[in-house]
Symmetry: C2
Subunit: 209 residues, 2 copies
């Protein structure tokens, strides 16, 4: 399971990084972004704060990497993946089925208690702090949205999506309702809801002949 033998210091670094990520996510979920400090993360991770200052320029950078690490581990747990990042959304030739699979997985992630508090804390901070929000959108959200664009373009080429639909807008019809319901907690976020969003969005709300 470990094809390359890392030197001890590198293994120690990996362990420390992981401990720092976990401490950062736990803390921001518990006390919010504002009250999370480098000192607090260091104490919780059992490392010196100089270790954190040496590796990251800011608290935001630590958290960004912690979320990226989390996304990476979630991918590992759901099985092997190729190096082709664009395969984030499967293409079985059935657009509705593929989108339902991805949106249901998103529902599961959003409902995961371990992720909920830090994700809410960070999203809330980005909503009031434009600079931090822009950074998280650029580094965390946009790469995910690009996967939708790729899948929707393929659907367009296959004639499954209207030729005049802008994939960048179309994806917001799928993601927007999900996030709105989750962020504002208006109603329960379920697989049935994810399926309905896909069916309504693809089929449209006006009657078809």
């Amino acid at each position: 399971m470990a094809p390359t033998k890392a030197p001890d210091s590198s293994r120690r670094s990996d362990r420390s990084r992981r401990a720092i990520h976990e401490a950062a996510l736990a803390l921001v979920g518990e006390v919010g972004y504002q009250r999370t400090t480098i000192e607090g993360i260091a104490a919780r991770a059992g490392v010196g704060k100089q270790t954190i200052y040496r590796w990251w320029p800011s608290k935001a950078a630590v958290l960004m990497e912690a979320f990226l690490g989390l996304a990476g581990r979630a991918d590992e747990e759901t099985g092997p993946r190729s190096d082709d990042a664009a395969q984030g959304i499967p293409d079985t030739g059935d657009l509705a089925a593929d989108l339902k699979l991805v949106l249901r997985a998103t529902v599961d992630e959003l409902n995961d208690p371990a992720l909920e508090a830090p994700t809410r804390a960070l999203t809330a901070e980005g909503i009031v702090d434009a600079k931090l929000g822009a950074e998280f959108v650029a580094k965390l959200l946009d790469p995910q949205l690009a996967l939708y664009v790729t899948r929707l373009r393929a659907a367009q080429e296959a004639g499954e999506l209207r030729a005049d639909a802008d994939p960048r807008i179309a994806l917001e019809l799928l993601i927007g309702p999900l996030m709105h319901r989750w962020l504002l907690r208006t109603l329960p976020l379920t697989h049935a809801y994810a399926d309905a969003i896909v069916d309504y969005t693809l089929g449209g709300l006006t009657p078809r002949p």
Copy 2:
């Protein structure tokens, strides 16, 4: 313009209430929900803090009423309205046109600099504080969403909306993308975007014969 003559003390109360609302909205926009205090609101409004404690049970209650007052004033400014709250969304018989009108107005409201900071501060707080979030959804958001349900039901009766579509889900396809774009600042929130959301949602993303 003032059909009933209010006694002096009532007029003074109205002035104080308005000053307190404005102070609360300004403060929460500037320093966030957590750091907004009854004392701070009182000082800014030029009233004693006992005045606020006498009229409202909590800081959240002051802000809730301030937002409700704001919504009321926005309605006054856009012209006369009947007592029928359900007429919030016009019914001209053209569903697409009516929805575009309402979503464009929502875009304008969200882009209004005077509303932006307090709305962001309160939304962000509701995202991390489930109790406060639920209160704002119940008192501020749900009554607005009910107007969409009413309009979409009428469209359903007129055959303009699929009979099998749930209006409560359908409205999230319209509101969700707008709020997602505004909250996360992914891309500019424009009238053209509001129009596209209506067209895509009603027509659907898959080709029609």
